[in-house]
């Protein structure tokens, strides 16, 4: 049997299903040589705002059991600088780029998306919904369904590119929210974004990160991410879902595909092992060979659940 790692998400193609997650691959022009850019399935950019953002104070990170808490505060060069300085390097490597669109309100999302979506090399957009909504009092955008839909819908309407909505696993009804995103125009979903977490330094009576509630990523997040992917993919089997959350090995990636993901993104693992995405893709291929399965798409949603037809 001929095994292939290539995946197609309703027309959106990647050479293999392992992409780098947003915020874990420098900015673009400055990716260290240890990362083989051209061997990645794709790259999700840093979350980009309209103006350059300096981000938060330090400390911005703390290690927690099997996890990483980070609060970078969206430091990024701004969408214009990204397009001028960073995108060319990614294009040169021939790696498909998914632009992560961020903002503090509807207008900023629209302006960032409209600067990104016609750039060569950008194959899709991902809407980052955990940024504070400064037009609505500063709570994260995902906290209000109407705002999620307004923003996802606006980005989807302006761009002919596939638009993924990236959601954390803690919206009140994840499946319904995901469904609503699709109705608003989303092409697919990225599940999941980091979860809010707190690490405390008891000796100094302080939080361990400057912004106390930071984003939890890494293996600690994996079961939550798997559950989110499983639930959403079962409810909408025809909607592409990218799984992300604690994927460190080929087996982890296979678990996400079995749960219903069409592709996966690797974040924290990349910080620990710059070759992680390539090794994970190789691990998926080995699994396919071992099981005599032709492609990652044939794994999708193949989880055998008791009492359900196999």
């Amino acid at each position: 049997m001929k095994h292939s790692l290539a995946v197609e998400l309703n027309g959106l193609r990647f050479a293999h299903p392992v992409l780098s997650a947003s915020g874990c691959l420098a900015t673009g022009h400055d990716v260290p040589g240890l990362v083989d850019l051209h061997k990645l399935g794709g790259v999700v950019s840093r979350s980009l705002t309209l103006a350059p953002s300096k981000g938060a104070s330090t400390p911005r990170s703390a290690e927690t059991p099997s996890g990483l808490l980070s609060a970078v505060g969206m430091q990024n060069p701004g969408v214009e600088a990204f397009v001028e300085q960073d995108l060319p390097r990614l294009q040169k490597a021939g790696v498909p780029v998914i632009g992560s669109v961020a903002g503090s309100g509807l207008e900023e999302f629209i302006r960032v998306a409209s600067m990104l979506h016609r750039q060569p090399g950008v194959v899709a957009l991902e809407v980052y919904l955990s940024s504070p909504d400064l037009e609505r009092g500063g709570a994260p955008i995902y906290a209000r369904l109407d705002r999620i839909l307004e923003i996802v819908g606006a980005v989807a309407r302006l761009s002919s590119l596939p638009v993924f909505a990236k959601l954390p696993p803690l919206v009140p009804d994840l499946v319904e929210t995901a469904r609503a995103c699709v109705r608003a125009g989303a092409f697919g979903l990225t599940l999941v974004d980091a979860m809010p977490g707190l690490a405390v330094d008891a000796a100094r009576l302080r939080p361990k990160t400057a912004i106390p509630v930071a984003g939890l990523s890494g293996p600690a997040l994996k079961p939550l991410a798997l559950a989110a992917v499983y639930q959403v993919a079962r409810a909408m089997p025809d909607v592409p879902v990218m799984g992300v959350g604690g994927i460190f090995s080929g087996t982890d990636a296979v678990e996400f595909l079995l749960a219903g993901a069409w592709a996966v993104q690797v974040g924290t693992a990349l910080l620990v092992n710059p070759a992680a995405p390539v090794e994970i893709a190789r691990g998926v291929l080995e699994y396919l060979r071992e099981k005599g399965i032709a492609s990652p798409a044939d794994l999708r949603g193949r989880l055998r659940v008791r009492g359900e037809p196999g």
């Binding site: 915020g23 874990c24 691959l25 420098a26 400055d30 990716v31 260290p32 040589g33 240890l34 990362v35 300096k54 981000g55 938060a56 104070s57 330090t58 400390p59 911005r60 990170s61 703390a62 290690e63 059991p65 099997s66 996890g67 990483l68 980070s70 970078v72 505060g73 430091q75 400057a210 912004i211 106390p212 890494g218 293996p219 924290t268 990349l270 910080l271 620990v272 092992n273 710059p274 070759a275």
Partner: protein
């Protein structure tokens, strides 16, 4: 930077610290004082992130073909694990990382100030400065005798050395800051290098600014990846022209910075959000006079 599987040649206790020497010719060949290595933790443990260590020694030649040594204080799960590592084990190492200390070309008298195991990279620097014919004097401090890093080596590497301990168990009682003014006067220091706690670095930076002494400092900031990917280890550094500042990554743009360009108030402040640049800008800082 290279990523190598490096064999542990030697792992031993050094007073309150631990030291590991690795066989890593590809890294050792390139390494300069102030740079660091990143060491992966074992798989399948609750502590996932790589640990980062300043380089204390590198030998480019010798029977082992290129070794390097780093020193650490085992106080967390990662460094605790490393303290148990034995000779002939292999570690996943990335290096050399970061920007090194610059050497002066015109100026001669160098005063090196260090605290605790901050002395490890500083002794490496002392060697290289001496090899370039510079005068090296030192101020070395720690909480107590056990935490003074290799005092005999410090003496060997310097023209004069002032050792300071908080409890007076070795050298004079006090901190490196207490010894600094006298040391500068006595040695005619033209350049100051430092590696110490952040509060000490800040005080040294203010001292240097006041007296217009050029300085270079190796800073520490929480690093998740160490290779420039994650943007967690940033330090607010004024642009050369004073038009504003940037949060630069200590791992790729540092860890050595010109302290006159660090915005200490912002870096050490309690405010979680960065405040904007004042309309009049910041004072422009002349570059390193080397």
């Amino acid at each position: 930077m290279r990523r190598v599987r490096a064999e542990v040649l030697n792992a031993r206790r050094l007073g309150a610290y631990h030291s590991i020497t690795l066989v890593a010719p590809e890294v050792a060949e390139r390494v300069r004082p102030g740079q660091f290595v990143s060491v992966a933790m074992p798989e399948g443990r609750a502590f996932l992130l790589r640990r980062h260590f300043s380089i204390h020694q590198s030998s480019r030649r010798g029977g082992w073909g290129g070794t390097l040594e780093f020193v650490f204080d085992p106080k967390g799960p990662g460094t605790g694990w490393l303290a148990e590592v034995k000779a002939h084990q292999f570690l996943d190492v990335i290096g050399p990382l970061g920007k090194a200390f610059a050497y002066p070309t015109k100026l001669n008298a160098c005063l090196l100030v260090s605290e605790g195991h901050g002395s490890a990279p500083v002794y490496f620097l002392a060697q290289e400065l001496r090899a370039r014919g510079k005068r090296v004097d030192m101020v070395v401090g720690a909480e107590d005798l056990e935490h003074v890093f290799k005092p005999i080596e410090g003496k060997r590497l310097s023209q004069t050395i002032a050792i300071m301990t908080a409890d007076g168990s070795l050298g004079e009682r006090g901190s490196v800051l207490d010894a600094l003014p006298l040391a500068v006067e006595a040695t005619g220091a033209q350049v100051i290098y430092a590696a110490a706690r952040r509060s000490t670095l800040r005080a040294i930076a203010e001292f240097c600014m006041e007296r217009q002494i050029p300085a270079q400092m190796a800073v520490e900031e929480h690093m998740a990846c160490g290779i420039g990917l994650c943007f967690t280890c940033t330090v607010p550094v004024i642009r050369k022209d004073g038009s504003g500042y940037d949060n630069l990554r200590a791992c790729t743009d540092g860890p050595v910075f010109n302290p006159a360009r660090i915005l200490w108030d912002r870096w050490m402040g309690d405010e979680p959000k960065m405040t904007p640049t004042p309309p009049e800008g910041f004072p422009a800082v002349r570059s390193w006079p080397g």
